[in-house]
């Protein structure tokens, strides 16, 4: 196998035009265990959007891999993230997926926690001694919880850098999404919760891969052309792949599909044309013509390391995914939209979303098929390397290159790079 300034899993030749990833990175249980420890337990991980817990008492149960967390707004209006496990004997204190509650009562022995985490009820507490402290038995929160523009993230590493610092250049792109709502953005009701029999990193790569679109999504492109949904935005059009720092990357480009904010296409119907023009005009007066044009005319696929994708394309999808095993992940996807959007416009947005996106859309199922075909292919030839060399060394990498994936993989490697015994083992095993 190639040696030199390379890791066992990623070959990144600084002089040359080759970038390859060893397929054990997708299949090895040792790599999977190292990722859990060195990526998912150390990086900022997306928890949910502010609008999902809009009112005091609102809660959502969230599964971040094996960890089940409660995402709650307390009656003091503060947002918290608790481990969903009673401090008495460990049972889950909340067994509903979502709702509104003043308190959470563990049904095992009846300990009750306020929605701010305080232990407020212990049946038969006369049986405890003077050392029994309700304060120390409050529902524990995850070590770190921070938000940027309504996107809440948790981190299990107490010493992690602040979220904004971690997000680095990605804040520019979160702003481009968050700025679309005159009075904020909200997650639309309805979760697309599904699973893929493939390694989670395949979905990272796929989510901002412009190279596959014409082939994998041939049927979507054909539908787009035949449905009258197609119209290229005018003006100076972006086509760029950018390294946003810390493993985050984005592709920004013009696409022929309609955008609820704000690019009209014939399939929206003639009645929607003035409405979209009005949205565009309001965007311009609020943000200036340049920024409005950028928001309205360009599509952006944003990957925030490690497992958050925000694709602002024919609609905005927020998508996060957690590995369960090297060859399996759970995916949650939502539609993000401006608060107070007109009813008819919201309908167009959701229709536009479904034409491409989701586990029954005209495109996402074929992505899933591709990812699963890759995973099966790796088992066919596990010693081989994937090639991610498109546009290596290009001064201005584009959406159809693989610069954005290399940004991800370099960060991945930096997180996993063996610096102690356990990972050196991983490296040896993975390179075997």
């Amino acid at each position: 196998m190639t040696s030199g300034a390379v890791s066992s899993n990623v070959l990144d030749d600084p002089r040359g035009d080759v970038f390859r990833v060893q397929r054990h990175a997708f299949t090895s249980p040792e790599v999977f265990a190292a990722e859990r420890e060195r990526i998912f337990e150390r990086c900022w991980i997306y928890l949910g959007h502010d609008s999902e817990v809009a009112e005091p008492g609102d809660f959502r149960m969230r599964e971040l891999g094996a960890r089940r967390l409660l995402f709650v707004r307390g009656k003091d209006r503060l947002v918290r993230a608790f481990y969903n496990s009673c401090t008495h004997r460990g049972a889950e204190v909340c067994r509903e997926r979502a709702g509104n509650a003043n308190s959470f009562q563990c049904f095992y022995h009846g300990w009750t926690f306020a929605n701010d985490g305080r232990l407020i009820g212990v049946p038969g507490d006369e049986a405890y001694g003077p050392g029994f402290s309700r304060e120390s038995l409050a529902l524990p929160q995850v070590p770190r919880l921070e938000q940027y523009r309504g996107f809440w993230f948790v981190c299990f590493d107490r010493n992690a850098v602040p979220l904004v610092e971690y997000l680095a250049g990605a804040v520019e792109y979160l702003d481009l999404v968050a700025d679309q709502g005159e009075s904020g953005m909200e997650i639309v009701g309805g979760t697309q919760s599904y699973a893929i029999h493939a390694n989670w990193k395949l979905l990272v790569e796929n989510s901002y891969d412009g190279y596959h679109a014409q082939i994998t999504h041939a049927r979507y492109m054909k539908w787009l052309a035949s449905s009258g949904a197609v119209s290229m935005p005018k003006g100076k059009l972006a086509n760029v792949a950018r390294d946003l720092g810390n493993g985050h990357a984005v592709v920004e480009y013009a696409a022929p599909w309609g955008r609820p904010i704000a690019h009209w296409v014939p399939s929206f119907g003639a009645a929607a044309e003035p409405e979209i023009a009005a949205i565009r005009a309001r965007l311009e007066s609020r943000l200036g013509p340049e920024r409005a044009a950028r928001i309205a005319s360009s599509s952006r696929n944003l990957g925030i390391f490690p497992n958050l994708v925000i694709n602002d394309i024919m609609a905005i999808t927020v998508r996060t995914f957690h590995p369960l095993a090297p060859g399996r992940m759970n995916v949650e996807a939502w539609s993000l939209a401006p608060c107070g959007e007109a009813v008819e416009h919201r309908k167009h947005r959701l229709e536009n979303f479904l034409t491409f996106l989701g586990p029954a859309g005209f495109a996402t199922p074929d992505d899933i098929e591709a990812l699963e075909a890759c995973q099966r292919g790796y088992h066919a030839n596990p010693e081989a390397w994937n090639d991610l060399s498109r546009e290596v060394g290009f001064e201005k990498p584009t959406v159809t290159g693989e610069h954005q994936m290399r940004v991800f993989w370099r960060r991945w490697l930096a997180q996993l790079e063996p610096s102690h015994g356990k990972l050196a083992e991983v490296r040896r095993v993975a390179a075997r």
Partner: protein
């Protein structure tokens, strides 16, 4: 004014069994002929089964045009997720006529749909809600909603075929 609906449960069962057979046999063009020209087909999200597709993100919310396109796509060669096609087997039961209104029949039925492909076996469980239109001797589907009892699609992956 169209004639009032008069359909027996046995007739409706025959219709639904025929529909299931067309789907299992991938005779989707014939299946489309069971629909009215303005028909809709939808699958609500698993966490909001009673929601409205105008304000909620569904899994499928096809109008007639998108439904026709879905069928055309699935019968084409580039719907990679269903090329080669899944094997499916549908068990339809508990067929009930809930009410009639003019020429319309509102009916429900339970389903178990097995999908087998690439060594994966997925089982979709739920109920159908149908709005049917009687036209002379024939029934036509005006709205077909497949409501999953599954709590998520995690066990079945995706819904790349007609459920």
């Amino acid at each position: 004014m169209s004639q009032p609906a008069s359909v027996t449960r046995a007739e409706l069962e025959d219709f639904l069994y025929h529909e299931a057979a067309l789907l299992d046999e991938w005779r989707l063009k014939e299946w489309l002929e069971l629909f009215t020209d303005d028909a809709t087909y939808s699958i609500p999200p698993t966490d909001a089964p009673d929601a409205d597709p105008d304000d909620t993100l569904f899994l499928v919310a096809d109008d007639a045009e998108r439904l026709r396109s879905r069928v055309e796509q699935l019968m084409g060669k580039t719907s990679w997720s269903e090329s080669p096609h899944s094997r499916t087997r549908r068990l339809i039961g508990n067929v009930r006529i809930r009410r009639t209104e003019g020429s319309l029949v509102f009916a429900t039925a339970n389903f178990v749909v097995h999908r087998l492909r690439m060594n994966q076996h997925a089982t979709y469980v739920g109920r159908y809600e149908y709005t049917l239109e009687t036209r002379g001797e024939r029934l036509r589907i005006r709205d077909r909603r497949a409501i999953l009892d599954l709590e998520s699609l995690r066990d079945v992956g995706k819904v790349s075929f007609i459920l």
